[in-house]
Symmetry: C2
Subunit: 209 residues, 2 copies
Amino acid sequence: MEKTRQKNLPANERRNVTVEAVIDLAATTNPGDITTAAIAKHMKLTQGALFRHFPNKEAIWQAVMKWVAERLMSRIKKAADGMESPLEAMQAMFMAHIAFVSEHPGAPRMLFGELQGAKATPAKRLAHALLKQYAERLNELIETAKSRGELPRELDNQAAATLFIGTIQGLIMQSLISGDMEQMRQAAPGVFAIYRRGIAGTVPEKRGE
Amino acid sequence: MEKTRQKNLPANERRNVTVEAVIDLAATTNPGDITTAAIAKHMKLTQGALFRHFPNKEAIWQAVMKWVAERLMSRIKKAADGMESPLEAMQAMFMAHIAFVSEHPGAPRMLFGELQGAKATPAKRLAHALLKQYAERLNELIETAKSRGELPRELDNQAAATLFIGTIQGLIMQSLISGDMEQMRQAAPGVFAIYRRGIAGTVPEKRGE
DNA sequence: GGAAAGATAGTGACTAATTACTATCTCTAG
DNA sequence: CTAGAGATAGTAATTAGTCACTATCTTTCC
């Protein structure tokens, strides 16, 4: 129906809008430099009003991280679901992750920005949990792939998982730097192809040792 | 000469000390949160004195980026020098880069932190130039490797270079997150092995299957 | 050789702007 | 009518940058 241009949003809704505003801002602004005033302005509110819905700034960041974690994991899970081969599933995850990031460039910036901080904030804990969950999921896939003969037994799980995540992070970083998210989408398939060949390729015969 | 415990350093020296202080601080502090007061304190100086040697904060960052760029490129060049095979050279560069970062954890933080900013500061331009130079060097190596038959002609140069840098950035990111730089050194060889197989590996023979 | 003069480096106290956060009043929707 | 949502106008803390002054080195010239 007609959006009644209502000024006063219910608290719950207002919190959602706030989170989206932050993600929006993070697309172009260094997360550490995002002020409560900037957030409020971006959603056409006064700065003080923000604190009716969040006890402090940290709570805002926490809400944002939760949003990112939920959306990203759901996207990735959906992409990998129903895939027969674990290698195909990994490829789907890779692409889904890239797509998500290119739709929400602010998301990785928040993640990285928060994780760099020295002190352990609640938001940081959320980010950590996200990464851990991600790594576990990868490990399962790799193991399944091994048992199906899609990946060689000798493959170093740890290195493979590290490289998977690292590759994505590297792509993100470079897009962040160039400021062009489209570039990432284009580079992704070629990059994953190399990665896939790297883990699947036959390992040189191990003699003796 | 006996180090005369002199308090007043010559301007040039003082600038160097400042840069080192910043790199030092960046190892444990989010670069955006490094204040001029913190820098001054870390080098046992008053805050005001800093501005006798730098016109403003931006100039400090610029000096730091120059330091990082020079040291890193020199290390990498030295490592690759005298290498017969380009693939070996790439491996040496990879390891040298990792070693440099693990010795100066503050360096990548400064780089990434600066590059994330929206506005184009002089420091950011320096960082950009560094990355560009790096990519060019990689491209040359890849081309040479191709002409020597060490890499397949069909390999996508762009993707290979992107993945090389991306892999390093990813490793750095994960070490930054875990706070353990040693981890990166340990993971590096295995990760590079996968990368190398990925670019060099013959595209799987399509025999029957 | 050594004081006087000039140059260089550092101090400590200040400022103007910006920050997260709060107290109080006003409006709006149900 | 009233409770929740927003506006207005604060506060204390922190920030980069300035300034008048002092301490320490270096050069000059008798």
